[in-house]
């Protein structure tokens, strides 16, 4: 089951959903609008799953905007810390952004039950597009799971910076 606007709001107040900072006006009928955080990283041109370090250092997105080019993957972050130990979080873009041809995530929309952090976004664009820090760019939904709850034990929630692949060789030792 997907949580409605009123239910997301209630569960934020109950402490069962973490969204910080939280503004009720960013609630939609069945999701919450998140903002783009200030940091952005480029991937190295020849990134592969088998490299330890594939991204360049994070830079600040200027207030005047940053032009993204097609054919590249950029790692960005949500402005908000987002997470829940009770509901499963899914992350997507707003349709207003999708209509401009900007991907916010690449095929991996599923969050884990566990602690909150600033989520890493995978940006890629079909046509060149300008992005601005703090712009309302995407949405998260919250889903009630069935079954005993198991918390995320992987590496990513420790990071709120845009974070590249931390599982070289797909997490399997070479």
């Amino acid at each position: 089951m997907i949580l409605t606007k009123t239910e997301i709001h209630r569960e934020v107040e109950n402490g069962n959903i973490a969204i910080a900072p939280f503004f009720p006006e960013q609630l939609n009928p069945n999701s919450y609008n998140y903002r783009l955080g200030p940091k952005l990283k480029n991937l190295h041109p020849a990134a592969s799953l088998n490299e330890e370090l594939m991204e360049e250092p994070a830079t600040e997105i200027p207030a005047a905007g940053r032009l993204l080019e097609p054919g590249k993957v950029y790692l960005a972050q949500t402005l908000e810390r987002i997470g829940s130990k009770k509901y499963v979080t899914l992350l997507m873009g707003r349709s207003s952004i999708g209509r401009l041809g900007l991907f916010l995530q690449l095929s991996a929309d599923l969050g884990n039950l566990g602690e909150g952090h600033q989520w890493t976004l995978e940006l890629t664009c079909v046509q060149p597009i300008v992005i601005y820090p703090n712009m309302v760019i995407g949405q998260v939904t919250f889903w009630k799971p069935k079954g005993e709850i198991m918390y995320y034990a992987g590496p990513y929630t420790a990071y709120s910076e845009p974070t590249g692949n931390l599982r070289p060789y797909g997490g399997v030792s070479p």
């Binding site: 997907i2 999701s31 349709s95 207003s96 209509r99 041809g101 046509q127």
Partner: protein, 177 residues
């Protein structure tokens, strides 16, 4: 919880799901196949700035098909007008569409509860792809909610045909406050 095909049919019959036109043979085990409407739009500008209202141009998809090029984003729409006050719709491409490298939406699969439209599709082809008017291009699923329902009253309500992004309004509202 996701609705099964027979439940989608039952809830369409009861009026809690709107799909118009509705063709029972387009029901799948847990989704409904929607069709591509007969025109697409594309942006006049190559570089897209969300702060600026972007002009779009329309092109009709002829019966013999229209080739979508990889370097452009195209806005299509569902032939069906769809929505629900009781369930949350989520859209996606059919796997048959994905297998030829065509995105039907770009990272925005979620429809607000209470939103009734011909939904705008964000078409993006990895390789050139030919599309046809009325082709079965994607699927909609319906999901049960937890909590009291607030219906959508946003800027895309009631839209027909491909609708350009209205995100520039965010920025004008920001500067106005």
């Amino acid at each position: 919880m996701i609705l099964t095909g027979p439940e989608i049919f039952r809830e369409w019959t009861s009026g809690r799901i709107k799909i118009d036109p509705f063709v029972p043979s387009q029901i799948n085990p847990n989704s409904y196949n929607f069709r591509l409407g007969s025109r697409v739009a594309y942006y006049k500008n190559r570089i897209l700035d969300p702060k600026v209202r972007q002009e779009i141009l329309y092109v009709d998809i002829p019966a013999e098909g229209l080739i979508l090029e990889p370097h452009s984003i195209y806005l299509g729409y569902t032939e069906e007008t769809m929505g629900s006050d009781s369930y949350v719709p989520i859209i996606r491409g059919r796997s048959s569409t994905a297998r030829i490298g065509l995105f039907v939406h770009i990272t925005a699969d979620l429809i607000d509860i209470g939103s009734y439209n011909q939904w705008t599709l964000q078409l993006h082809a990895i390789q050139p792809v030919r599309v046809y008017p009325g082709m079965l291009i994607g699927q909609v699923t319906f999901w049960c909610v937890q909590g009291e329902v607030t219906l959508y009253q946003g800027k895309y309500q009631g839209s027909k045909g491909p609708m350009a992004s209205e995100i520039y309004r965010d920025f004008s509202e920001e500067s106005a406050t």
